[in-house]
């Protein structure tokens, strides 16, 4: 083969690759940009710099009424245990390997920026607060994930594909709320005494495998069949948790948020959480 022909083939091959790759790369990038600008315009229309955009379709959210949890000791633990039971969350019995979807922590840890006030009500910093994934409107974990194994659905729920996750834990570094857990060891295994890490397996929900990240899924599997999240159901009597569609002005949660002052975790991170707290 003479050198001219070889050069031609080289150039032709390179152009073909470029021709295929460049437009698709641009498309992917532009798609991302389109979402961003749409968000910006909507925010502007809603009259705000950074104001939450009113959107069509469902966006699930939750109000956590801490006062009601204080009135009902043991209720928070009930919420935690029912969630971890139905979702086959393993218990390794140590902090290092710990996996948790929903848990109780003190006010100063859940709201670290709000706990350094000069004077504040007595006992506030140690007030127990229920905490879980915030299902952010602008989730940093989804931005960081290199495989789209974690994703935001149209209804606002940030979900996980356990079969796609490569276990790089970038999402765990990215989450500003420490809501994510990693399977450091096989959750389907047993401890030294032969006790399984998943005490009573729920056959209706998948167990996970070693080496993937997991977190609260807002009970998307229950929502799909018309049920409310398990923790909300467990707290139904006291109405300590209000769950519903933030985009529906007539929903119970919208009514509560219209009339009650609530706070959110780390609003300065720009994540727009779907969780609201009444302290």
């Amino acid at each position: 083969m003479d050198s001219k022909r070889r050069d031609f083939l080289k150039i032709a091959g390179l152009s073909a690759i470029a021709g295929l790759a460049v437009p698709s790369a641009f498309n992917t990038l532009l798609k991302g940009e389109a979402i961003a600008s749409e968000h910006g315009e909507a925010a502007a229309a809603a009259g705000g710099h950074g104001a939450a955009a009113a959107k069509t379709g469902k966006r699930y959210g939750m109000v956590i009424d801490v006062k009601k949890f204080t009135e009902n000791p043991g209720l928070a633990d009930k919420c935690v245990s029912v969630c971890h039971t139905i979702h086959n969350v393993p218990d390794f019995g140590n902090k290092k390997d710990e996996i948790k979807w929903i848990w109780v922590d003190s006010f100063k840890h859940v709201f670290p920026d709000d706990s350094s006030q000069y004077k504040q009500p007595e006992g506030l910093n140690s007030l127990p607060i229920l905490t879980l994934c915030n299902h952010c409107d602008n989730p940093p974990c989804v931005r960081a994930c290199p495989t789209q194994a974690t994703f935001r659905s149209k209804d606002g729920i940030v979900g996980m594909d356990y079969h796609r996750c490569i276990g790089c834990r970038f999402c765990m570094a990215a989450c500003p709320y420490g809501a994510r857990s990693f399977n450091w060891r096989d959750p389907r295994g047993k401890d030294a005494n032969g006790q399984p890490f998943i005490k009573a397996e729920n056959p209706k929900f998948p167990t996970r495998m070693r080496g993937v990240v997991e977190k609260c899924n807002f009970c998307t599997e229950r929502l799909a069949i018309g049920q409310i999240p398990a923790c909300v159901e467990a707290a139904a009597q006291s109405k300590a948790l209000v769950f519903g569609d933030l985009n529906d002005p007539n929903s119970e949660i919208s009514q509560v948020l219209k009339t009650t002052f609530t706070i959110q975790r780390k609003p300065s991170a720009g994540t727009h959480p779907s969780l609201f707290y009444i302290i």
């Binding site: 859940v110 940093p140 790089c168 765990m172 990215a174």
Partner: protein
């Protein structure tokens, strides 16, 4: 050309055997990790990245450091680097190979690594990191090998390689910039959330990479007839010295911003790394001795490296380069990644200690890197010496 790596002195073979034995032991550790899971490491729910990712971060810098030789030689036609530029390119190959191994060692599901390609995700910085690292590996293999092969044949390198060499220059910047972007784009991690991170990464890279190269060049000078030359040596001192100074200047700006603004989130990690972080009744300070040693070694190294040039002392040069290299290894290969996790997102503190298996795997990956490096350098130096003979 590769056959040059198969002929060597007893010393060469003993060195390779030594590396192979570390690789073997580390390989066994990896089998354990593969079967048990990453729980075998010291990482936890709070400190989710450990020594693997911190080594990865540091080694990206070592790879990018090759730029400090390629740029003067090819772009500015600085002839004195003629003998050493190939060492820079080959060092980049070994360093990137280590980076990729550290990433794989850190994955919970290494068999799924290809998912990054199967589901390309441009909004993830890890996706771009994969592209720039593999691209840089490819460019260095191509440029290094083609240029050396031409030298082997006694001809000038072909013209078509030039665009690839020019491309490798901005590409070297990109690998460390994107690696910094892995960290500095995360809301909530104040220690990492700083625009100076990428520039600081580059400054430390341009010191640590050439410093390691200089140490190896001095060893080669003693053990073989290969001498990079006095002029190249002196020029590298300037590069290493000023890059190291820039790194400390950038570090100083971090201190100013944190402690003058008095914003707690900005101060916490620096407290933890350099003074000890008081938290409740406890003080957490397991990295303090390392970080302080890093500052002392780095500053001493900078001073000594200029003295070594004034005195034309190779011994002093090696010591100062080692000081700078280990200073930046601690700074980036330890403090930067581990510090970012303290305190955690809920203002709690968990300290991290690597496990024995984790250290074994880490040592094995370093040994593999040096194994690759030794083969490449053996070939390069044999060709160079043969040509001159």
């Amino acid at each position: 050309m590769i056959e040059k790596a198969l002929k060597g002195s007893t010393g060469y073979w003993l060195w390779m055997l030594f590396l192979l034995s570390i690789m073997g032991v580390g390989g066994l550790c990896y089998v354990q990790q593969f079967n048990y899971g990453l729980g075998i490491t010291g990482m936890s729910r709070d400190v989710t990245w450990g020594i693997y990712i911190s080594q990865f971060t540091f080694l990206v810098g070592v790879a990018a450091g090759g730029l400090m030789l390629v740029l003067p030689y090819y772009l500015h036609n600085y002839k004195a680097f003629g003998r050493i530029v190939i060492l820079g390119e080959f060092m980049a190959i070994a360093a990137i190979a280590m980076c990729l191994m550290f990433i794989i060692a850190d994955l919970g599901q290494p068999m799924r690594a290809m998912n990054v390609l199967l589901h390309p995700t441009p909004h993830s910085m890890l996706f771009w990191d994969m592209i720039v690292l593999n691209g840089y590996l490819f460019l260095n293999i191509l440029c290094g090998w083609v240029v050396l092969q031409s030298e082997y044949k006694g001809i000038k390198y072909p013209k078509w390689i030039k665009p690839f060499i020019y491309l490798s220059i901005p590409w070297a910047i990109s690998i460390h910039t994107v690696t910094a972007f892995l960290y500095c784009g995360l809301p909530g991690r104040h220690f990492w959330l700083t625009a100076i991170l990428a520039p600081r990464f580059l400054a430390s890279a341009f010191a640590a990479g050439p410093a390691l190269l200089m140490v190896i060049a001095m060893i080669l000078k003693r053990t073989t007839k290969f001498d990079v030359g006095r002029e190249a040596q002196d020029k590298l001192v300037t590069i290493i010295g000023y890059a190291a100074l820039l790194n400390f200047f950038f570090l100083g700006t971090e201190f100013f911003v944190a402690y003058y603004s008095q914003i707690p989130g900005h101060m916490h990690t620096l407290d933890y790394l350099y003074w000890g972080l008081g938290h409740g009744d406890e003080v957490f300070n397991n990295l303090v001795p390392f970080m302080r040693a890093s500052v002392i070694m780095g500053l001493a190294g900078i001073g000594l490296i200029f003295v070594s040039r004034a005195k034309q002392s190779d011994g002093l040069l090696v010591i100062s380069c080692l000081l700078i290299f280990f200073s930046f290894w601690i700074d980036k290969g330890l403090g930067l990644v581990l510090g970012g996790f303290v305190p955690n997102m809920l203002d709690q503190v968990t300290e991290y200690y690597p496990s024995v298996q984790e250290l074994g795997i880490t040592a094995a990956i370093w040994a593999t890197g040096f194994f690759i490096l030794s083969i490449l350098y053996k070939v390069a130096i044999s060709v160079k010496l043969e040509n001159e003979a």
